[in-house]
Amino acid sequence: MATFLGLEYSTWWFLVIGAVFTGYAILDGFDLGAGAVHLFFNKEESRRIALNAIGPVWDGNEVWLVIGGGALFAGFPAVYAAIFSAFYIPFILFLVALIFRAISIEFRSKEPMLWWRKMWDISYTVSSIILSLSLGLILGNVLIGLPLDAEGNYKGTTMDFLNPYSIMVSVTTLALFMMHGAIYLVMKTERRLYAKLTIIVKNTTIFFVISMLMLSFYTLLYVPHLSIRIKENPWLFVLPIIMVLSLANVTRRITQRRYRRAFLSSSFSISLLLILVAIELYPSLVVSTLNPAWSMTVKNASASEKSLGIMLIVAAIGVPLVGIYTSFVFWTFKGKVKLDETSY
């Protein structure tokens, strides 16, 4: 396979997919988290402000999932086929939650009745929680590996997904998004709602730290293959250290009320978490629990060199463009939320 800057195309594409999913976790992470804490606000006005804080950007954030899915389809068709057909029921539920979330945001403001708005508020929070949990569930299962046969067909049952490890990853993901989303909302709100959110940020941070600690212990004790690379290359241990420091910085910035920096810190922590995942998984994308030789790796599951080369060009042109107009949109809507007649 051809190389670029010393790395094979397939490895580059592994990195691109990793970067897109990291972008997705940071961007959609905050609006999923904002949805998950939505019912903590009691007043109609608070709920409207919280909703409008993500209003102009949530759609753009969700696009990263579409790009991620497309990138996986394009770069590693076999992995895409294996994962999506294996996680049949979780993905279907994920899609239904995705639809409900989109229409909750869109439909809520269209009627003034109290029951109407309450109904969509509940649907918004529940679907945001389901989405965060199922993303975590899928990640957890990918981390411990799937019972795949030599052809990449799933050999387990639907209930196999609900194993303790994946459930822990799932809860941790929810906690992470809730913290991240609450910090984002703090950044976008003022006065009472702002004050209330600082309390929510504290609580969700505690929730996240506890679940992350439990998950880390569990990983070290029971899922040894997820720490092999760090054991072999001790200098990599610097990454988890930076991650813990960055998390500590989140709480520090919050007490300082430097919420923008807190948000950057929590985004940075998310990136580091996913970088750690990538380091431990590489070169596998999905480990087969039935036979290690059937695992899907960047070598045996990638698209052809030609196709990867074309798509690297596509990504090289496209990603900076997306970066530019994403920044433009965020810049346009920077500052505290002000409700007007175009708001939700």
């Binding site: 899915g69 057909s85 009627e111 107009y325 346009t332 505290k336």
Partner: protein
Amino acid sequence: MDVEIWARIQFAFTIAFHYIYPPLSIGLGLCMVFMEGLYLKTGNKVYHNMTRFFTRIFGLIFGIGVATGIVMEFEFGTNWATYSKFVGDVFGSALAAEGIFAFALESGFLGVLLFGWNRVSPKVHFFSTIMVTLGSMFSAIWIVVANSWQQTPAGYHIVGEGLKTRAEIVDFWAMVFNPSSVTRVMHVWIGSFLAGSLFVMSIAAWYLIKKKHIDFAQRAFKIGLMVALISSYTQLFYGSKSADIVEKYQPAKLAAMEGHYDTLSKAHMYLVGWVNKTKETTTGIYIPGGLSFMIHQDFNTPVRGLKSFPAEDRPTSPNIVFQSYHIMIIIGMLLIGLTTLAAFLLWKKKLFEKKWLMIVFVWAVALPQIANQTGWYTAETGRQPWVVYGLLRTSHALSQSVTKNQVIFSLVLFTAVYVLLFILFIYLLNKKILHGPEGEGESVHNPRQQEMTEVFSEHKEETGLQKNKDEEIEREID
């Protein structure tokens, strides 16, 4: 019934439902570009209100389009894993390009289009409207390119065997510009313009009948009519060009479209008819030798019929192909007639007096929708039994690990959700239309001033003023 049928029903249902929305956003987007352009040019407030009124509806349509569209992307992997592995190398790059070049563009600028009225200058807002429309049109390009590759594959070679067989890309541009893609992209775009413009005309016509918002409605109707008139004539050209390509690359599909079984005789062109698959005959009203004439410009030259293909390579339901194709054609002709008549009456300055015509236009919103749907039924059922024409059979494309119960479960779930979604959509759309374009606020186009206040408030924050205030409030809450 086996898994294949259920998976096909599921795909057909979810894609057909999804396809109500994207053509509407593309066509409505184009109309909105004209409306906002006129506002910038004339400064007339009515165009401002018009754009804002349709922007709200656009948001509703777009939201459902996105949500139901992600389902499609995932369904390739969940139900059609073997297909995904087969086409991934070729198809994936088109899909990835769609996400990154088109979808990100439209979704990014959508925020500014919907919520940016008071945040950016009129020109920047107009730019965002154009970007959203372009984004949705680019989306159509990549998706139709991918589908056209399934109809007329090019720029690939086949590697591996058995379940591991897959198509690998050899020439990217040959894949993108495969024989049918350009014509089909145009065909889809114009179909979308028709969907959007007749949608605008339908709402306007309803106001005119109810004698409400007269000035708004007349101007909106004219914008819609201009788009629809040009589109309906160009569609005639691209439609027949599309049929020529089908004749050349997918002769079995063409034979099914026209219900043509016997190769030896001259081929008739049916206006209406019924295809009997078991008896291998077609009955109906026809122009003798019409198909021969269309293809070969000669009434007596034979055209290859269905009987000349092995039974396992013929479209599985020729009557569906035939009927949907004919419905599409009839609607295409109706639209040409309707828009021409309306344009003629407009020129004679009598258009808005003809109440009966306005009533027709209220309902005509369904015509392009039906034509778009039936057009795709023709393309997709006509391609059967292949999912990638001549290379991969639909029956071989399924996921190996997915069971019938899983597919039925998800189909039931999607049906329930989509029915609910459609009811809510119609209800909210109706409400917005009843509410009308009145009562739109002024757009405050002074972003710079606003920015200054923001900078000022940020400054306060830095100096700790805000901080003290917040602490006070927090104490109150505690």
